[in-house]
């Protein structure tokens, strides 16, 4: 794969949820080291699209290529390609006293897919985990239970899980959901910093249009079909937003008071 080849290439993708098409005939590409936002109203098919791209939902039609490799009908990808993909979900099913420390969890991000005893650990793994925790400001959390963390801490630990080994594509599904404004801003700054350092190509589902306008290179507006795409100023114009969300939605630019660089 050449440096100019897209990291992700989607052609005529349709995804079915039950009896209905949740996503219909969507095509787009993600260029290397770009940050793309996927926006749209609730029920627009954003999560279905992301799930299909990751091979978690079957495709009704179309093709997906990741790093030049075709995604199989049941989500098959060569192991070396799968290891280049990271994903940040909205939340984890953490009930009280979940017996897993932050260090252990981040270590699982380092381990290869498939059956192995890699969790028993070695020097290379320990070093990678410590480095990932340091880079995300989580070094003091290593021995904490995952279930003891605040929302903002948990999101940073999820980023440590992704950065613990080199990857190329990072997919975030409303990763900032549930965070207050300062935590959301910190998370976005940390993501931006890591993206530059790691050379990640990012696809993030988001409802924060102001953040998208400030941080992303490209916007995909989805409402079952791709309604528009392009640079944020073009794709998030008032007319486009009215088309996507309906005429009653008024864009509102907000600032995060108290956050360095904003306010």
């Amino acid at each position: 794969m050449t440096d100019h080849a897209p990291v992700l290439s989607v052609e005529g993708l349709s995804v079915r949820r039950g009896e209905q098409l949740a996503v219909e005939q969507v095509s787009f590409q993600l260029a290397r080291e770009t940050d793309t936002a996927l926006v749209g109203p609730n029920g627009a098919g954003k999560s279905s699209l992301v799930a299909a791209l990751l091979g978690l939902l079957p495709r009704a039609a179309g093709s997906v290529r990741i790093l030049g490799h075709a995604l199989g009908p049941a989500g098959e990808l060569p192991r070396s390609v799968r290891a280049q993909i990271a994903y940040l979900p909205q939340s984890l099913a953490l009930q009280g006293r979940f017996p897993l420390t932050v260090g252990e969890f981040v270590g699982f991000g380092f381990d290869p897919p498939g059956l192995s005893l890699a969790w028993l650990g070695n020097k290379r793994r320990t070093k990678a985990v410590l480095r990932a925790l340091e880079r995300t400001g989580c070094q003091d959390l290593e021995e904490r239970r995952l279930s003891e963390l605040s929302g903002g801490q948990l999101k940073r630990v999820l980023l440590a899980f992704c950065v613990v080994r080199p990857r190329q594509l990072l997919v975030l599904d409303e990763a900032q959901a549930g965070l207050d404004a300062p935590s959301s801003e910190q998370f976005q700054q940390l993501l931006l910093e890591l993206r530059r350092q790691e050379g990640w190509t990012v696809l993030q589902v988001s409802h924060d249009l102001e953040m998208v306008r400030r941080s992303c290179d490209q916007v995909l507006c989805l409402n079952r079909r791709l309604r528009c795409s392009g640079a944020p100023d073009h794709a998030l114009s008032p007319a486009r937003l009215a088309e996507l969300y309906g005429p009653n939605v008024v864009p509102y630019r907000h600032h995060h008071a108290g956050v360095p660089g904003h306010g």
Partner: protein, 301 residues
């Protein structure tokens, strides 16, 4: 209780331990308890506690079918449990109804059929208590071999798939995105749990099987921060409590299954006390918040 007092001395203990059936029962209790604790440590986190309970109750139908067909009930129980697991898995996937409601439907119906079937078998009416509460003293060497092989198999599978099991428990999309065959591992674990429940029923009984899966795992969870330690501790608690419970049962001539569960409950209470003590200890005080440039107060609660 003169029997209780007569047996509860050192010579009584030695006499009990000298009996081959008691030696087999102790080994069986140790292995079954460890197996229940090990599988339970994953099942409880994946909210499958009720699955083992429902399967235990439904197993009565498998046993009844075995009796009606004139086949060894244990031989019928394993395929029955696997079928039960597959059926519930399919129902959950296809119906869109909550798993606990579906489990309730399947196990109540199985139980109803089992009671009807047992009422048709004249000779088996007297043995219902053995089915309900188990008969660990009747465990044979072949039963022990099956349980030991199953324990080894479960240990190897869970150790090799630990990453997959934990990620699957946390978020199935996260697991899938990071290369875990989520459906494959979910089904494999449910079937393993079903086989363990089926094999353990002879020793533990239909009513008490879920205690073997749930109580040691909850005790282990109270005092563990690290996942491998949690799984190991749950298995040790399960095995250790079964051993103590059986010794207590042998000494007091009280029913073995309930004795084991009572000791498991005592172990759980002990773990609760230990966890309360350690959470008050300054050695495990919550560390200071992260040090990143511009970190806000909201993250340091």
């Amino acid at each position: 209780m003169p029997g209780f007092l007569a047996m509860a001395d050192a010579s009584g203990l030695l006499e009990v331990l000298g009996q081959p059936f008691m030696q087999r029962a102790l080994l069986g209790g140790l292995l079954t308890g460890a197996l229940g604790g090990l599988l339970g440590s994953f099942a409880v986190l994946r909210q499958l506690s009720f699955f083992s309970d429902a399967l235990g109750h439904s197993a009565l139908l498998g046993i009844s079918l075995g009796i009606l067909l004139g086949v060894n009930p244990t031989l019928v129980l394993i395929p029955f449990a696997v079928l039960f697991a597959l059926l519930v898995n399919q129902l959950v996937a296809r119906s869109g109804l909550p798993a606990d409601a579906l489990l309730n439907i399947v196990y109540s119906t199985s139980l109803a059929f089992a009671v009807v079937a047992l009422s048709l078998v004249e000779t088996y009416r007297g043995g219902i208590q053995q089915l309900l509460f188990g008969d660990i003293l009747g465990i044979s060497w072949s039963d022990l071999t099956v349980i030991a092989v199953l324990l080894m198999g479960a240990l190897i599978y869970l150790a090799l798939s630990l990453r997959a099991q934990v990620l699957l428990t946390l978020n199935s999309d996260l697991a899938g995105a990071f290369g875990v065959g989520a459906n494959r591992h979910r089904l494999a674990f449910i079937m393993l749990l079903a086989v363990v429940v089926a094999v353990s029923i002879k020793a533990v009984g239909v009513l008490l099987i879920s205690a073997f899966v749930v109580i040691p795992a909850c005790g282990g969870r109270l005092v563990s921060r690290h996942f491998p330690l949690y799984a190991l501790l749950s298995a040790c608690l399960g095995g250790g409590c079964a051993l103590l419970g059986l010794l207590g049962s042998g000494l007091t001539n009280l029913p073995s299954g309930p004795c084991v569960v009572i000791v498991q409950f005592a172990g759980f209470l002990l773990a609760l006390v230990v966890s309360q003590q350690t959470s008050r200890s300054p050695a495990v005080a919550v560390p200071a918040g992260p040090r990143i440039p511009g970190a806000g107060r909201a993250d340091r609660e």
